[in-house]
């Protein structure tokens, strides 16, 4: 008790600064969008707290506030470091990427199995090739019908020419 009464204000300025910086860092560190930025106030908070602790030790100042500031700053910096590691570590990112690809592959496999079952229900063999023709009716409301038919015919001829030269897309 006697010792507590005789404490001076040594290191309190840096201690308060460290506490404020530590709290700011802690409030932002958990938010991924700005969590990386929390490293700046977090590290500054640790430095200020250490300086304050040294001053308080030399000048018999109170240490409770300074130690609180140091703990908060260390916690905030640790959380922010986790986000930095997640952003920068390619191994971790690649691991997540591979997991996503595997998940998507399983989903694709499941869809194909379901499609095969549907084909069987329709009485179709999934191992055979089927030629499907899609017919589309075009309604011409205005313009020259003759000209449009000629254009469509021209497009058909061009497509046939492509097919015979083997330039068509499968």
């Amino acid at each position: 008790m006697e010792e507590q009464r005789n404490t001076t204000s040594a290191g309190q300025g840096f201690g308060i600064a460290a506490l404020v910086l530590g709290v700011i860092a802690l409030l932002t560190a958990f938010i991924p969008c700005v969590g990386i930025l929390a490293l700046i106030p977090g590290i500054l908070g640790i430095i200020f707290a250490i300086v304050a602790l040294v001053q308080a030790s030399q000048g018999h100042g109170a240490k409770a506030l300074i130690i609180t500031a140091l703990v908060i700053s260390i916690l905030a910096t640790s959380v922010s470091t986790v986000w930095v590691l997640m952003v920068s570590a390619p191994g971790m990112m690649m691991g997540t990427g591979l997991r996503n690809i595997t998940k998507q592959f399983h989903m694709l496999q499941k869809s194909l199995e379901e499609m095969e079952e549907d084909l069987e229900d329709l009485g179709l063999d999934s191992t055979k090739n089927y030629h499907i023709t899609i017919e589309k009716t075009i309604k011409v409301t205005g313009g020259d019908k003759e000209e449009l038919l000629e254009e469509l015919e021209g497009a058909d001829t061009a497509a046939e020419a492509r097919d015979t030269t083997g330039a068509g897309v499968e």
Binding site: F30, P32, C33, A62, W83
Partner: protein, 136 residues
């Protein structure tokens, strides 16, 4: 060291800081156009897990709760934290200015209240961090 003077100074600083956050949310609309970018997206190219948080805040300031929840599920608990903290800072400042006695008991209540409020409102973000670290 005068605890009261230091307490007033720190409390006033956070009062201004939290008020600035609400002012920022009020100035920019929920539709977007916020000048502070997502540093997570800037560095990774991937959308941030908390994408839409600023817009969610802007919606909550305007009383659009449903829109805010749709923009980001983390918006509402964080808004609650900052709202209660802003209120608390204002109340504490008034008490400190009016009462001239030793504020240690008030400081103790303030610290415990702030700690539990932080733990409760930041719980979804803490859970997100743990989930990411564990590779979920």
């Amino acid at each position: 060291m005068d605890v009261r003077k230091v307490y007033i100074r720190v409390d006033r600083f956070f009062l201004v800081l939290f008020a600035a956050i609400f002012l920022y949310a009020a100035v920019y609309p929920p539709a977007g156009g916020h000048p502070v970018p997502s540093f997570y997206t800037l560095l990774t190219g991937d959308p941030s897990p908390t994408a839409g948080l600023s817009r969610s805040f802007s919606a909550l300031v305007r009383g659009e709760v449903a829109r805010a929840r749709a923009l980001s599920p983390y918006g509402l608990p964080l808004f609650l934290f900052f709202s209660l903290q802003l209120l608390m800072r204002a109340v504490v400042l008034v008490l400190l200015v009016k009462q001239k006695k030793d504020p240690r008991s008030l400081l103790r209540v303030d610290l415990w209240f702030s700690f539990f409020l932080f733990a409760g409102c930041y719980a979804p973000l803490i859970a997100l961090l743990i989930q990411r670290v564990s590779g979920g």
